[in-house]
Amino acid sequence: MIVEKIFNKWILFFLFLIPILGFVFEEPYYITLTTKVVILGIAGVGLNLALGYCGLISFGHAAFFGLGGYVTGILSFHAMNSELMFSWPFVTSGSSEMLVIWPIVILLSAFLALIIGFLSLRTTGVYFIMITLAFAQMLYFFAISWPNYGGEDGLSIYMRNSLPMVNTMDPLTFYVICLFWLLLVIFISAKLINSSFGMAFQAIKQNEERVKSVGIETFKVKLLVFVISGTITGLAGSLYTDLNRFISPSVLNWQMSGEIMVFVILGGIARLYGPLVGAAFFIVLEQTLGSYTENWQFWLGLILILEILYVRSGILSLFEKKLKYEK
């Protein structure tokens, strides 16, 4: 575990180093790429709380990622077109202020997670996987059939949303914003994991029957974990829309849920920095193998198979072992 902590510090070091190098060598593309890693890492950190630490295999986290993205896109779209969003029961216009958008995204993602969690956590195992998938697919098809916001073609926003006294269009500045959120959600996750609440949800993953027998209301614990997890992933969706200045139904599709799950599994389930490492590995593969073949995901599949067979605890555990041998 100590070795993993050292490795985590190296990860942080690279998170600061890469964009600085991109800035110095005037390669904004690498800053944007690292920003994408950070945002997808946030989504993975969110899912990791539910999947990795509490054993809730959600195959519907795209719902939260997409909701965060669409809320950001829609608010921004209305603000930029100076259109009212709705006039009843009260007049509401959009907003292109991140400080307005983020709280709305957080509240709505939490609310959606509360509804999905309340209904789906009555099931377990494969039924839980299917019900969370079904919710996300419902939202996906709803987004496709909603022409006001682009339907299948998606929704473009012309400018990145703004933050007071900050130029969010600058890649490095936007990267710093995303990095702030990443460090905050990792900090929150660490606090949760080490708390008595964290003890309860990690115990549920291992033996829910025992946890019930000591009087702990496991449904409430799981629901709260699911809500926190969904909220974090929703926030990632918001940042993702701002990064691309575009949102489309594809982020609500089951493939997105699968990708977030892949980040967690690749990096290491129930490891604080695992999803970030997984997301980085995924993006590096996409960029390198993707330049040779369109079907680069064939190789991703092969890597996943090998990992699950030989390095089940994820990439981080691989480094942990290597470092241990070097000692």
């Binding site: 949760l192 008595s196 609440f197 019930k212 027998s213 000591v214 614990v221």
Partner: protein, 249 residues
């Protein structure tokens, strides 16, 4: 009625045509250890599951400390004072022994939903957990992962988890199974000590331990209580000797 803390009336459970428990009426007095014995498959563990609420009974009622708990969930029953051990050790394998005990202390100390305060810094929880670990002679092994404990130590930890809840009644399902002589002695002394605070309904196959501990014994066979009495009465009961004890005891 007043000296009964747990009163079970006509509790029945069937799986199809097979009656696992058949109109079981049994009670537990204050300050008492009431042993429940019988052959394997007689329905002892199913009865425990029905009392704790993890298996829903078909008919019957359960009164705990003059409160009808028949319709409460398993978690609600645990909260109001029913604490159990499992027939097969059911602990949190990746937690250390002390963390297992702390988990059991969380609900009682209203700490389950403490979201951001590190549990490692909670001195009160650790102190209470250490007291329990000392009782079950696992203090020295407190930092060992539960999955690495021996079978006997896991049985002790099971009992420790139940103790930590400070319940109104204990339901112990074969707590001494697989323990060595010292472990069994420790359990017998511990049970004698704790029964005045929280009486015990004890399922156990170790007849020496049962006879050393029990104030009353009930015998269950094919889901029915066939006899209830003191240790001497049960030992002399012909029917009990036929169905379970045999004639060598």
């Amino acid at each position: 009625m007043k000296n009964k803390i747990l009163n079970i009336k006509s509790l029945s459970k069937s799986y199809g045509a097979f009656k696992v428990t058949d109109e079981i009426t049994i009670d537990l007095h204050f300050d008492e250890i009431h042993a429940l014995i019988g052959p394997n498959g007689a329905g002892k563990s199913t009865l425990i599951k029905q009392i704790v609420g993890s298996v829903k009974h078909d008919i019957g009622s359960i009164i705990l400390d003059q409160e009808d708990i028949t319709d409460l969930t398993d978690i609600e029953r645990a909260k109001i004072g029913i604490s159990r051990t499992f027939q097969v050790s059911s602990i949190i394998p990746q937690f250390s022994a002390i963390d297992n005990i702390i988990l059991s202390l969380l609900d009682k100390s209203n700490k389950t939903f403490q979201l951001f305060k590190s549990v490692k810094n909670n001195k009160e929880l650790y102190l209470n957990a250490k007291i329990i670990l000392k009782e079950i002679e696992l203090l020295e092994k407190r930092d060992i992962s539960a999955s690495d404990l021996s079978h006997g130590d896991r049985r002790k930890l099971e009992v420790g988890l139940a103790l930590a809840m400070d319940p109104k009644v204990f339901l112990f399902d074969e707590p001494m199974a697989g323990l060595d002589e010292n472990g069994t002695k420790m359990m017998i002394n511990l049970f004698k000590k704790i029964k005045s605070n929280s009486p015990i309904l004890l399922i156990e196959h170790d007849m020496e331990a049962v006879f050393a501990l029990a104030d009353r014994v009930s015998v269950i066979n094919y889901g029915k209580i066939v006899a209830t009495g003191t240790v001497d009465e049960i030992r002399k009961n012909e029917l009990v000797r036929d169905v379970y004890l045999g004639y060598e005891i």
